[in-house]
Amino acid sequence: MDFGFLVVQSLSGLASASSLFVIASGLTLVFGVTRIVNFAHGSFYMLGAYMAVTVVPWLLDFDRSPLLFFTGVLVSAAVVGVLGVVMEVLLLRRLYKVPELFQLLATFGVVLMVQDAVLWIWGPVEIPGPRAPGLRHGVEILGQRFPAYELFLICVGPAVLGLLWLLMHRTRFGILIRAATRDREMVGALGVNQALLFTGTLFLGAFLAGLGGALQIPRVSANSQMDLSIITEAFVVTVIGGMGSVPGAFLAAVIIGQLNSFGVLIFPKITLVLVFLLMAVVLVVKPWGLLGRPEPAAGRAALPEGILATPRFGLWEKVILAVVLAATLAVPVFGDAYTVKVATEVLIFALAAFSLNFLVGNGGIVSFGHAAYFGLGAYAAGLLVTKGGFAMEPALIAAPLAGAAFAALFGFFVVRLTGIYLAMLTLAFAQIAYAVCFQWVEVTGGDNGVVGVWPSAWARSREVFHYLVAGCCILGIAALRHVIYAPFGATLRAARDSEQRADAIGIDVRMHRWLAFTLAGAAAGLAGGLYAFSKGSIDPTLLAIPMSIDFLAMLLLGGMQTVMGAVAGAAAFHTIKDFFMPLTDHWRFFLGASIIALVLIFPRGLSGAYGALRRRA
């Protein structure tokens, strides 16, 4: 390989890195100040691109000058910044008092709504933007041609970094941002107007996301899938750099840009997973990212989020439980074939969401990649049946074992971390598992998956299968619930509320968390195995990010403070989705709107609302 090629390839990497940094810097600022994992950041990026392909051609009609082009780009970014303010004022501001994870759910609702709003406003066809006047051409560098616009992009990253540095060190607003990133409560205690600070930060964050999107229009067309394709990468950059650290994000973006541009030369098929491998390695070696600092709350006995009380069932709860159980068992008798199908799926999701709440609510281990164990259980069962020639029964025993085995393997590294870094490591492992299932075509069937995963003959009818699923899931949930009430569950809660104190009274925190992670993986694996048999096929979407988010949404909708909330959440989420999907093509909009409505009306989830009702009664 000649030298010129290496230089140009490296410049390509820098151009991508620069774009990525602009977006990720906004994400990291917002997280640093508000502690919100803002899924809607990708939506702001997409809106920036759509704004720019609308505004810029209109401006260029007056005069094809670079000045008007960049004016258009900045105007688009500013409009997106205002949208960020709207989201903060209308939605997030009402949620600062509820658990941080709940805000994540709200931003996820925004993502769904924006996706359909964009389709509705701009139509389904991708929209190419104009090339930048004066920067259309290619420049000869060491005998290779390189786009002038990308040379310009390479300069944008450091420029934004410099401006942010000035903002953070030379203005009062910036100093407050840094202070809030270090210790939010202290800033509040000193009398700083937090609402204004948060609104300003959201504007800045959304502006940067919009700028990142608007700057892309000469390279990529605005399309309705660009939000999700950028958001994971932006998360990876912020995590590798250290959440809240702008220079860290810059460093991480440069590393990832180079990794991608040289990675395609050596492993042309592995780009999907390269960045997640890097993230996993970085987090295992440096638990706070490259330039991040330990979370200030890590050493403190924080106000616990999650299951607080473990009351026994009272009379009312027993009645509700009996009704629900009776309804579950009566569905095949009274419901039509399709209702049985939906009820079966609700049961499966209830087990998966309950196992996630066992980690999140009870153990304080927030997993963003719980679908991995669900999916690996499904793959174990599916492959045993189709490739191994086994029957359904042994396959259903293998599913939880596979879930547990991989949870034990990944969990060994995961439980060494805490907070958002832990969550991102679970996501990294889930993406690695996803990539293996996706790439290992000979065994897993690649993205087509494997079909022909049907139950044994005796369980083939929808009704019998429903009873089989009901048996497995109710037993699974009951067993996990028992563990929550057992000393093991109490120990996990102790470790969640104060790691140091738990440690001081002689609890091996890591060991307990590891066992809990493994147990939850087993339950998710069982749910995955059952799901595979209900669908007749396995494929990588079972362990993809949207599935993990669905589980989180179920859990949060139900309420993570109560033991049984996840079950109610699974039923609610699946029913809402099933209700809107046949009604309209824009079902994602209504699903998102329902989520936001529920978040605003029941800020502690459905079961939280029930608890309040009970206390009042």
Binding site: P128, G138, R145, Q225, K535, D539, M581
Partner: protein, 407 residues
């Protein structure tokens, strides 16, 4: 061959539905409608799926005005979003079959969704007419009695562009394909076929960017570095736009032969705008060059009703409805086994000419247009385009027998 003549007559009625609708004295269809469960990625793949659904509705209205199917019953399509995942699609399919009472299933876009629905159809013994999924597995290794596919699959389309390159001199080839089944299997087919069209051809570089997130600069750089004479491209949608822009600026396509799948379809050509490259050999749909009378009538009716030009998806949608009508007329029953038997070697006179559902591999002989890209005004189109009849590009019979599972 009584069934054959019958079906041809009814197919003709369906095929000239536009005229039939105007014919005086022809009673519109009456009675209980025959419902077809159509599931597709209407939310996520709206650019394809909307024109497709429009054309189905157009066709169904015309068929019903002309007297419906099976001796006067109206045809009805029930459209549902498949959620773009196999899990959602299987649930929606069950909904269509049980609650909606659809006679059979049709549609799907993504290959993994198509395969999952196909296996459900096999399990429940219901007919599934796959329209858009391109994977060869659907009709080959994972084919089953109840699944039929209308559109030319990956192998057929690859073969069309490769044979169009016969006689060219490009020996060193680079491949760029999205990293999922469609891209991988198009690349594999290309490697298998290119040697027969251009003796001595070799593959010198392969790039498989993740679908929807191509790093265009790095990919173009890596391809150019291998100094190929020709490039086989499978990218489409936003990936294609980014790739073409980057390639144009960096001069990747200068003095190189490019073969490209689907690029000539209006869905992907329109977003390229004036960046449309010159002289790529592509499959596509140059609707403005169509000369066939029934096809022209379809285009006029489509433009009049939807105030938009037809896309490739529109042609597929219209042909789907025509084949469905022809099958129902021949089977004269909505009983699954009768419909499956009716589909075997069923010829239908459609707007793209005769389409036969080959019994051997359940693949339709619908073809597509092959030609070279050219920029006219501010948008790209195709020149020297000809309709490549799918019948000439099917899998060889012995390969089908070796690949398809014995029933």
């Amino acid at each position: 061959m009584a069934g054959f003549t019958f079906s041809r007559r009814s197919a003709l009625a369906a095929g000239t539905g536009i005229l039939a609708g105007l014919r005086p004295g022809h009673a519109p269809a009456q009675g209980a409608p025959i419902k077809v469960g159509e599931l597709n990625s209407y939310a996520r793949m709206a650019a394809f799926a909307m024109p497709y659904r429009n054309a189905i509705q157009l066709a169904v209205d015309q068929i019903n005005q002309a007297g419906g199917v099976m001796g006067g019953r109206p045809l009805e399509f029930v459209f549902r979003d498949d959620g773009s995942t196999p899990g959602d699609a299987v649930r929606v399919a069950e909904d269509l079959l049980t609650r909606e009472g659809c006679a059979f299933l049709a549609g799907t876009f993504l290959s993994n969704v198509g395969l999952a629905v196909s296996d459900l159809a096999n399990q429940r013994k219901k007919l599934f007419l796959a329209t858009e999924p391109l994977t060869d597995a659907l009709t080959m290794a994972q084919g089953n009695r109840y699944t039929w596919r209308l559109r030319p699959g990956t192998y057929m389309q690859t073969r069309m562009v490769v044979e169009a390159a016969r006689g060219k001199t490009a020996k060193r080839w680079a491949i760029v394909a999205p990293n999922y089944e469609y891209g991988q299997s198009a690349a594999a087919n290309f490697k298998k076929l290119i040697g027969s069209a251009i003796p001595g051809a070799e593959i010198v570089a392969e790039q498989y960017p993740a679908l929807g997130r191509v790093d265009a600069g790095a990919t173009v750089g890596a391809l150019a570095q291998a100094r190929p004479d020709g490039i086989f491209n499978v990218l489409f949608g936003p990936d294609l736009t980014a790739f073409v822009r980057e390639g144009n600026t960096r001069g990747l396509f200068e003095r190189r032969l490019v073969l490209s799948l689907l690029t000539g379809e209006p869905e992907y050509m329109l977003p390229l705008g004036d960046e449309c490259p010159d002289g790529w050999i592509v499959t596509g749909y140059p609707w403005e060059q169509v000369q066939d009378a029934p096809h022209k009538a379809f285009i006029e009716a489509y433009r009049a009703r939807f105030n938009d030009t037809p896309r490739k998806g529109s042609v597929l949608g219209y042909v789907t409805a025509q084949v469905v009508a022809s099958m129902l007329n021949k089977a004269n029953s909505t009983e699954t086994e009768a419909m499956v038997d009716a589909l075997a070697d069923l010829p239908t006179q459609t707007i793209v000419g005769n389409v036969t559902m080959r019994a051997l591999d359940h693949q339709g002989t619908m073809g597509t247009w092959v030609g070279e890209t050219v920029l006219r005004g501010r948008t790209g189109t195709m020149r020297n385009a000809r309709y490549a009849d799918g019948a000439n590009y099917l899998f060889p019979e012995d390969e089908v027998r070796a690949a398809r599972p014995r029933s």
